[in-house]
C-alpha cells in the first residue's frame, strides 16, 4: 500500500514533481559545478602562475661569488663551478617529477661582437630529452613564456642566434644578418624581446655557448619551473631537524623547499634554491584566490540549498487537501510524515543524480572555456552531493510537512486552511 501510494503520487502529479525535481536538479547542478571548480581552482591557477617563470634555480655547489650588475657578470669566465649538462634529464627521475613543468639550463659567455663585448647566453629552446622511458621537452619556451621572438626560434642543434632587441637596435642587426663569433658566421634567426637583461644580449643554443667557452658539456645554472604547494609551517622547517615521520611528510609534499632538496639529490654537486620573488608571491596570490573561491562556493551552496528547500516547501503546501483526505481516512501523523519524507528522498536521489551529471558537464565547460583544460571531479563528490541533496530536501520539506500534519482535515478539505 505504501509503495503504491508513493508510486501513484509520482504518476499522478507529474507536473508538481517535475517542478520540484527541476529545482533540486538546478540546485545540485550549481552546487556540483561550484564545488568542482573550487576544489580544482588551486591547481589551475597554480599552472597559470607558472607564466611568471621558473621558481627554482640550481647552481653549482662550489660557486664563487657573482659580480653581476644589470645582467652583466663581471666575474672572470674561468671562475666558478659548473654543472653537467648530461645530468639534466635526471630531474625527471625525482619523486615529484610530474610537478616539474619546465627546465632550462643557462650558460652565459662573454663574447666580442661588433667591436664591443656582450653576453652570449646559451640555453635550450625546445629540446627533446629522454630519461628512462620518459620523453620530455626542456627549454625557455616552457620556463620563460614571456619571451617574444620576432622571426623564428633557433633549432637547438643549429648555430643560429637570437639577438636582444636593444642590442639589435643599437648595432643595427636585422633578421637574416650574420654575426661572426670565434671565426665562424652565425645567422640571426630572430630578435628576442624579454623586458629583462636578455634585451642587451645574444641568446644561442647551449652547444654554441659551450664551444665558445671552450667547455663542452657544462651549464652554469638550471632554471626549473615546478608546481608547488604554498609554504606553511612544516615547509619552513629544516629537514635535518625533522623526525623520520615528519621528514617523510615534508619530503612527500610538493613544497618549493622539498623540490629544491630533491633537485639537489638528483643533480650531483649542486645547490638548489627557490627564487623567492616567484615562489613566495605565488603562495600569496594562490591562497587569496583559493580563499575567495571557497567563500563564493559557500554562498553558492547556500543559494542552491535555499532554492531547493523553498521549492519543496511550495510543493508540499499545495497538497494540503491530500493530507486532509488521508487524515480523514484515518492515517496517523507518523504515516503521513514517513510517506512525504520518502517521496522527498526519492525525488532528491533521482533529481540529485541528474543534477550531478549536469553540474559535472557545467564544470567541464567552465574549465575548458576559461583554462583550456578539463576540471577534474573527485568521484567521492557523488555520494556527498546526493547526501546533501537529501538533507536539504528534507530540511526544506520538514516545516511544510509539520504544518500540513497539523491542519484540521475538515478545513483542509474545504480548502480553507
Amino acid at each position: 500500500m505504501f509503495v503504491r501510494l508513493l508510486y501513484e503520487s509520482f504518476r499522478r502529479q507529474k507536473r508538481r514533481k517535475l517542478l520540484a525535481g527541476a529545482a533540486i536538479m538546478l540546485g545540485v547542478g550549481v552546487a556540483t559545478a561550484m564545488i568542482a571548480v573550487a576544489t580544482d581552482i588551486g591547481d589551475k591557477i597554480s599552472r597559470e602562475l607558472r607564466s611568471y617563470g621558473a621558481n627554482l634555480v640550481v647552481t653549482p655547489q662550489e660557486d664563487t661569488l657573482d659580480v653581476k650588475i644589470g645582467g652583466v657578470n663581471l666575474k672572470p669566465a674561468s671562475d666558478g663551478g659548473y654543472l653537467n649538462e648530461a645530468d639534466i634529464p635526471r630531474i625527471k627521475g625525482m619523486f615529484w617529477r610530474n610537478n616539474i613543468i619546465g627546465v632550462s639550463p643557462m650558460l652565459p659567455v662573454r663574447v666580442p661582437v661588433a667591436g664591443t663585448k656582450t653576453t652570449l647566453l646559451g640555453t635550450y629552446f625546445s629540446k627533446r630529452l629522454t630519461y628512462g622511458k620518459d620523453n620530455f621537452t626542456a627549454g625557455v619556451l616552457g620556463t620563460h613564456p614571456w619571451w617574444k621572438v620576432q622571426g623564428a626560434w633557433p633549432q637547438d642543434d643549429s648555430g643560429d642566434l637570437l639577438v636582444g632587441q636593444t642590442f639589435a637596435a643599437q648595432f643595427g642587426y636585422k633578421l637574416g644578418d650574420t654575426i661572426e663569433l670565434a671565426g665562424a658566421q652565425h645567422r640571426v634567426s630572430g630578435i628576442v624581446s624579454t623586458g629583462g637583461d636578455e634585451d642587451h644580449e645574444i641568446v644561442a643554443p647551449i652547444s654554441l655557448a659551450q664551444q665558445l667557452a671552450g667547455r663542452p658539456g657544462v651549464v652554469r645554472q638550471i632554471y626549473v619551473s615546478a608546481l608547488t604547494k604554498p609554504e606553511d609551517e612544516l615547509a619552513r622547517r629544516d629537514p635535518k631537524t625533522l623526525s623520520p615521520d615528519m621528514y617523510d611528510r615534508w619530503y612527500c609534499s610538493p613544497y618549493a623547499q622539498s623540490i629544491a632538496y630533491q633537485l639537489q639529490e638528483a643533480i650531483p654537486n649542486s645547490h638548489a634554491e627557490m627564487i623567492r620573488q616567484v615562489a613566495q608571491s605565488e603562495g600569496t596570490v594562490l591562497s587569496r584566490i583559493k580563499g575567495l573561491m571557497l567563500l563564493i562556493t559557500l554562498a553558492a551552496l547556500f543559494a542552491s540549498a535555499l532554492a531547493v528547500s523553498s521549492a519543496m516547501a511550495t510543493a508540499i503546501f499545495e497538497r494540503r487537501a491530500e493530507v486532509g483526505l488521508m487524515k480523514a481516512l484515518g492515517a496517523g501523523k507518523a504515516t503521513i510524515a514517513v510517506l512525504f519524507f520518502f517521496e522527498a528522498a526519492l525525488l532528491a536521489l533521482i533529481a540529485g543524480a541528474v543534477g550531478f551529471a549536469g553540474g559535472t558537464a557545467l564544470a567541464h565547460q567552465i574549465g575548458r572555456a576559461i583554462f583550456g583544460s578539463n576540471i577534474s571531479i573527485q568521484p567521492v563528490l557523488f555520494p556527498l552531493i546526493l547526501a546533501m541533496a537529501v538533507v536539504v530536501t528534507f530540511a526544506g520539506s520538514a516545516a511544510a510537512i509539520l504544518r500540513a500534519m497539523n491542519f484540521d482535515p475538515v478545513y483542509a478539505l474545504r480548502g480553507e486552511a
Binding site: 589551475k44 661569488l65 563564493i296 516547501a313
Partner: protein, 378 residues
Amino acid sequence: MSSLPLAERRAEHPQTAMFLRMLWRAAGRRPGRAASALLAMVVAAATATAMLNLYGDVQSRLQKEFRSYGANIVIVARDGPELAVDALQRVNSALGGNGVAAPFGYVVARTASGRPVVVAGTDFASARRLNSWWKVSSWPESAQQGLIGVQAQAGLHADQGLDLSFQGRTLHVVPAGSLQTGADEDSRVYISLADFENWTGLQPSTIEVAASGGTKATDDVLQKLNAAFPGADVHAVRRIVEGESRVMGKTRLTLLSSAVLIVLTSALCVLATLIGWVVDRRRDFAIMKALGASERLLTGFFAAEAATLGAIGALPGYVVGVGIAAWIGRANFNAPVVPRLEILPVVLAGAIGVALLSAIAPISVLRRVQPATILRGE
C-alpha cells in the same frame, strides 16, 4: 490636497484607495506566506548584491596582492652611470601615490682581501615595501649598517664587518642581517642610499617601480615615466605584467561565471516561491473575477503586488548583501569590500523584474480558467 484628512482623500479617489487597501490586506491576511515570499526575495537580493559587489571590488583587491611580485616598471640610466638628482621625486609625482618606487645604485667594490663584490645602495624602507619576498633576518636601522646576501656572507666571511673600497675610499659596513632571495641579490651587499652617496659620490642608477592597478594603469604610468625620463631606459617588466594580466583574466572569468550561476540560482529560488504564492491565491483571483474585475485590473493588481514585494525585499537584501561582501573581503583580503551604490538600482530592477515575471506567469494560466472551477476547488 495633501492637507485633507485621510478619509476625505480616500473618498476623492475611491478606486485608488480600494486598490491600495487590497494590496495591504493581501499581505496582512496571510502573513506567513507573504513573509516567506519576502524572505526569499531578501535572500536572493542579498546574494546577488554580494556577488556583484564582490565582483566589482575583487579586481582591485587581487591587483594589490599581485603587487607582491614587486616592480613592474624599471628605469635604468642609459647615458652614464647615474640618474638625475631629482629622479625619485619625478617618479613619485608620476605615480601620484599609486605605487612604490625604490632607488638602487650599484658599484663593484673590493673587500680587504681584494675580492670583488657588488655593493648596492638603496632606501631600505621602500625596498622593503617593494620586495616583500626578501627574506631578511633583521633590517638595518642606523648608518653604516648593511644587509649581506647569503652567498656574499658565505663567500666573504662577513660576520665581523666588511671593509669595502671603491676608487680609493673605504667604507666599513657592519652586518645588520642577512638577505636571501634565491636570485642575484644573494651575492650583493646592500647599504643605505645615504651611505652609498657619501661613499661613492654617485646617484642611484636604477629606480624600480611597482605601479598598482592593472594593465591600463601600468601603461599610463609607463608613458608618463617615458616622458619624464627622455635620457633613460624605461621599460615594463614583461614577466610580471604579462603573468598578472593572464592570471587576473582567468580569475575574473571564473568569478564571473560563479557569480552568474549564483545570481541565476537565487532568481530561480524567488521565482519558485512567488509562483507558489500566486498559485496559492487563485481563490482571491477567482472571487475578484466573479465580482466583475476586468482582466487588466487583475493582472495590474497582482503585478503591483509582486512589484511591491520585489522593491520591499530588495532594500534589506541590498544591505545584507553589502554586509556579506564586506565580510568576505575581511575574511579573505583583510580589508572590507567597499559598498557600491550603483548596484542598488540594478538589484532593485532585477528584484522587481523577477517578481513581475513570477506573478504574470501563473496569472496568464489562471486567466483561461473559469472562476467557478477555481472556487469549487478543482
